[in-house]
Subunit: 281 residues, 2 copies
Amino acid sequence: MLYLIGLGLGDAKDITVKGLEVVRRCSRVYLEAYTSVLTVGKEALEEFYGRKLILADREEVEQEADNIFKDADVSDVAFLVVGDPFGATTHSDLILRATKLGIPYQVIHNASIMNAVGCCGLQLYRFGETVSIVFWTDTWRPESFFDKVKRNRANGMHTLCLLDIKVKEQSLENLIRGRKIYEPPRYMSVNQAAQQLLEIVQNHRARGEEPAITEETLCVGLARVGAEDQKIAAGTLQQMCTVSLGEPLHSLVITGGNLHPLEMEMLSLFSIPESQSTDGL
Amino acid sequence: MLYLIGLGLGDAKDITVKGLEVVRRCSRVYLEAYTSVLTVGKEALEEFYGRKLILADREEVEQEADNIFKDADVSDVAFLVVGDPFGATTHSDLILRATKLGIPYQVIHNASIMNAVGCCGLQLYRFGETVSIVFWTDTWRPESFFDKVKRNRANGMHTLCLLDIKVKEQSLENLIRGRKIYEPPRYMSVNQAAQQLLEIVQNHRARGEEPAITEETLCVGLARVGAEDQKIAAGTLQQMCTVSLGEPLHSLVITGGNLHPLEMEMLSLFSIPESQSTDGL
């Protein structure tokens, strides 16, 4: 049996009791670690689970899934995913390949950012399409996701923005030379995402277009959702450029306007104090 | 401290390890039981948690929250919610009231139908606004949610339909006479939801309007998501009228059209066999 097990969002104890029981009895336990991170590392998980974990990076899962499936028809193998196995990233490719090999599978769900974002008080059923904001480079500055934000807002829907993660990336030179040397991991902060968004707003204005959002649009920054030191800050997009949310992972919500009174009241619990609004400007 | 703890979707062991530790040390533990149900009852939860649970029905939470908050500033109180505390139903009203009383709170997240629905293979970020389908009566047959389905489909988005639950409802006579006698609980099935949807489609046609969906629209019925005996069936809306999914809870997804190839492939794992498509017709 192949078990796909969600780990939730915080630390080792956010696994479900059912998930933990499976992890402890499986013959091999893989940890997917390229789409998200927990606030604790692999070692803390290993200690709490009492099991060695095999790191499954992108290459492993995409190219060498055969290793994962080995003997999974006669023994139990677990594949651990931060959040839910079908949350922000879907692992349906693994399930499809297992099914073709005649290996049965079971999913053990958990919280993912897709539902835990509700902790800021915005109602989940008022969220439209989720978007991803990637790190810009000097030559690659995609803006296409902005159309989705625009469409969501036109329909009065909030937009959850998932922020880029670069884990186990090679520099161009190392890639060309075939050297398996990896850059330090990078995680986009709410500040960076807000700055890129403001550039897009300005680009729209420069082209004479009315941007879908402005510096004053109400946003919510979230950091380490589900962890002990979770931080939530509600304020304008401009404020999101300088608000201090600490360590990764960060997410950003662009509200859809016309908030429900209960949504407004919840967001007021997280509003950025006036004194902070010019920090670092 | 007030703890809001998600129980997940299946049985007693779907609580997180962190949640279980909190439940076992709290002075009082409430179980919210009017917006959803687990496949196991209160007794099974009590046995596994080793704690007595106080059922918190709608009246209790809306009118007598003071009981829940009693001494929560000096001791720990847990409020258990099937799924996630901010999933299909938000409990932000409890948090706002606690905050006003100076009671700190903490949320322990879990899977909810809002993210676990991803197990059918449809990608979560392609879901638009979630709708609720309520039981029709002879005199109350609301169709207004259908506009949201239409808007979602126009944008290529899937629609998660949450199906009505009637728990602890009084008959009109008992309500008038002030008798606290409750009707047996009722849970809408995928069959019933599909039949109501088909009536709406026919009403639109009768008014000369083009309905947003037809008998042939691809839908997904889900039952007891996260439980051992979970069932998923993909087929036309017409097939959803007769597909056999067993006990509650049921949910229905109306696809947005233009499925991603990976979505199609996943749905094919759950397609209703031809031979079943005329069952009961």
